[in-house]
Symmetry: C2
DNA sequence: ATGAATGCAAAAACTTTGCATGACG
DNA sequence: CGTCATGCAAAGTTTTTGCATTCAT
């Protein structure tokens, strides 16, 4: 039950929030724009306003339930935050989103920041790729 | 003279294009939004429309003169394309943009893409950092 | 019952486009 | 001179906000 997740996040348990959380948990594609979530809700016969979707997703982000990414095409996508951080690869042909983790890259980023006299707070890495016709 | 760069790019030499190119070459901050460029033009007493700034920057991008980045805050910034590719570090306090290059990271990205059966087309890496109080 | 959450519509921020006028080669 | 570029204003996108109503506790 998702109730607990909302409570833990300090959010009142409301229908729109539950519905949106359910979409994020159960949709095939885990990387959704606000519009995507909105459409999935409509398709499911749920009556939730787009403004609410934006508001709820933003609250989820503040609560750490969800991560927001700004991919290059200008509009944000949201995904449930998994325990382990990961980066993304986007296929330029199919728009498929692939997740990956690489310890070495993470370490290097840390090193680079330090070498410049900075502390690494966060990062954003997206690889744009194309399937190899082996 | 910037005339040649425009010619080489296959673009007609017009005043707005020259002025914008000059801004990009001579401004202190090398990472400018369309609005920034527009304001700098106004401050310099030049009379160029914002729509033209967008059009020209987009043309420059197509011509390879300029690179467009979508930083996380949703609006695009442009910079003259230097010979050597580089990535960016942004100070979360001052919004300062620092450029850096790291061969190892570039190589790793290539490797990761390949391991997943993809060919690396492009990438986008931004580090969010904070100055160390040594 | 009270304060917070929602829905709608309006606005805001950023970017693109249509069209008449003006500039380049 | 013909064509392409410009400026303005209008429209498009994506996201946010104001406000009256509804909902959760």
């Amino acid at each position: 039950m998702s109730n607990q997740q909302l409570k833990d996040a300090g959010l009142k348990i409301t229908l729109p929030r539950l519905k949106i959380l359910n979409i994020l948990e159960n949709a095939d594609e885990k990387h959704l724009s606000a519009e995507d979530v909105y459409k999935l809700l409509l398709n499911a016969g749920e009556d939730v306003g787009l403004a609410t979707v934006y508001r709820v997703l933003t609250q989820f982000e503040s609560a750490g339930l969800v991560v927001r990414h700004n991919f290059e095409d200008g509009h944000a996508i949201f995904e449930l935050s998994s325990e382990h951080h990961h980066d993304h690869m986007i296929c330029v042909d199919s728009n498929e989103v692939i997740e990956f983790v690489d310890k070495e890259i993470e370490a290097l980023q840390q090193k680079i920041a330090e070498e410049h006299g900075y502390e690494l707070i966060d990062h954003n890495l997206v690889l744009y790729v194309r399937k190899k016709k082996s």
